[in-house]
Amino acid sequence: MTVIPQDQLPRVSGSSSNGDGELDNTIERPGQRAPLILGGMGFTEVTETVTRINAVKTPKAWYIAFAISLGLLSLLGLTIGYLVTTGVGVWGNNQPVSWAFDIVNFVFWVGIGHAGTLISAILFLFRQKWRTGINRFAEAMTIFAVMCAGIFPALHVGRPWLAYWLFPLPNQMSMWPQFRSPLLWDVFAVSTYASVSLLFWYIGMIPDLATLRDRATSKAKQLAYGIFALGWTGSSRHWHRFEKAYLLLAALATPLVLSVHSVVSFDFATSQVPGWHTTIFPPYFVAGAVFGGFAMVLTLAIPARQFFGLKDIITRRHIDNMCKVLLGTGLIVAYSYAIEFYIAWYSQSNFEQFVFLNRIRGPYGWAWACMTFCNVVAPQLLWSKRLRSHLGWVMFVAMCVNCGMWFERFVIIVGSLHRDFLPSSWGMYIPTWVDLGMFAGSFGLFFTMFLLFCRYLPMVAMAEVKTVMPQSHPHAGPHVNRHRFDYWPDERDHVPPMKKGEAAQNIRDWTGI
């Protein structure tokens, strides 16, 4: 499979606000692969482009962004301090809406994390080489999003200083957590997810931390990066085990990420509340999470590639592919919305039917309208190739989806709770300033962490990017096309017919068993 030469790529057309005539590698040419790294870069240039971000003097814009994020983060600290010293009554949730912003925000943030794991694990297993340009910061996004998510249930328990009761620790009451409750499954799912994501992120970063160590300009930097690089030397014997560990982690993280949002959806699905009690929640939640997460990846990637000069590594094709994932998962989400209404009608349950009509016509109908516009209507713009290659429109859709996915959780949680079986116990939920402040503050935490990451850690997985460059492949000899798992049809033509035992050998090579 040859790669399309870069001088044959067209330039992106459009106004100056839409890029400065970047190379357009989204073109499709049968039998040829579009290049993933542009600008005629070699290994050296990739290293320089990425490490430059850490090496240059901190830009003024970074300080401004950091100050704003820090301001929001202090708002989070303030509201948490106020809540802890006063009580959860400072939130607006009360019967019948006992789960509100706290749980909405928790599900929202956990969901965002899923795109990072999808990119790093699932796309890795599917051999989607374009993932290498974006996986590092998508994984970072996962970790920071899970951090934001973790705050809310910890506060929601009411007495946060007793949050450790969630874990099976021996205590003076001789009591244990109740393992037959989905709320406890959630504790295990989210904490496993957080720790495995952190491991995955860190392990992938070791070779790049070694790059920063070897290019450090001061003793302090060399020491700091050196400690976290663990003495990595790029030994082939190490790479062999490293790749195996990475593959295994990807294979483990894939079912894990699907399980996490499934378990989150069990919190709702195993209850009796109309609008929650439904079996399609696990796949519906997972698709929604990936959908929302990809919107957040785009929201971060588009400004980051512009600001940090990564246009040749996070190319138009990366954006285009992410748009397609957004569109695909968006269609699954739209289908889920539709099927929920159908099932409500089909169930012939008065309460179920009422809840769904109430979503549209009830007092929170505006939230439903907002969700539907943002999650169902707006992504349809991405069917158009022209709009997909216009960064302004892509950003618009991504922002819509960010909002829409938050409203989806609001519609599901508040929209189902506020009017259930007995009209005498209906009520309304109005957020207080603490609710709003804490939500805004969680963005402060997220962006503070993200900015620190951009400044001090390798933002792009350099070692992985180098493996997808044409220079990294041996040009001849027995190493080419050794495996026939590649799905490119024309490559398969050049492979001699399979010898006896070759298939078994391939499987052994792949699995190491």
């Binding site: 109740q178 409750s181 989905p182 392990i203 663990l230 082939s236 000899g477």
Partner: protein, 213 residues
């Protein structure tokens, strides 16, 4: 083309137990002073600039029968395992063990806490309710396997190892950037100062260096 450089650090003139200010430590040392000794040759370091070159070189060194040698590259090279004759790692088995232990641990935890130590009935479910235990068992399995994969890999790779004689080489810093290195350790039974150097020169590296420990 190939240049040979030997790195030696000057031996410190003050004995190691005397502090720079000239103060003796509180304890008296009876250890004899280290003898002045030439630093020992730890091996050869050959530098290459393309994937093809390092692969070809690795095959030759493998065929020459060396065992304590390695190649170093900024990224994993496809086909290097074969070129070097690296046998598949045992890691998957260790990870499988970790996963099974996680599975059993998760199951034991739930049965012990909810059915034996403090049995309580919830919504009419049996005390040992396997279906209700599945999510936590699953998470524990994944956690067990994932932690084993990461720490197992680090242990097998003998990492962290913050000191490495290779780090003394200025040239070697490019191993995490754009260069490829082949290292033959002096402890290899086949190592011979002359013969090994001859072999490495024949591989046509862009640089050849002796490194010391």
């Amino acid at each position: 083309m190939a240049d040979t450089t030997t790195t030696t650090t000057p031996h410190p003139t003050t004995p190691p137990h005397v502090t720079p200010g000239g103060h003796r430590p509180r304890y008296e040392t009876t250890l004899p002073e280290l003898e002045h000794e030439e630093e020992v040759l730890a091996g050869y370091l050959a530098e290459f600039d393309t994937v093809d070159a390092i692969l070809a070189a690795a095959e030759k060194v493998r065929d020459a029968g060396y065992r304590r040698w390695d190649t170093h590259s900024p990224f994993p090279i496809h086909g290097m395992d074969d070129a070097m004759g690296i046998r598949p790692t045992i890691l998957p088995w260790i990870v499988a063990t970790g996963g099974v232990l996680g599975l059993l641990g998760g199951l034991a935890l739930q049965i012990f806490t909810n059915s034996i130590d403090y049995p309580f009935f919830i919504s009419g479910k049996p005390l040992v309710s396997l279906p209700a235990f599945i999510p936590v068992v699953f998470e524990c399995t994944i956690a067990g396997a994932a932690f084993t994969a990461v720490f197992g890999m680090l242990v097998l790779n003998k990492l962290p190892m913050l000191y490495n004689p290779l780090f003394k080489s200025e040239r070697f810093r490019r191993v995490t950037n754009d260069r490829f290195f082949l290292v033959i350790d002096a402890t290899d039974p086949n190592f011979d100062e002359r013969e090994t150097e001859k072999l490495l020169r024949s591989l046509n590296p862009i640089a050849l260096e002796r490194f010391t420990d």
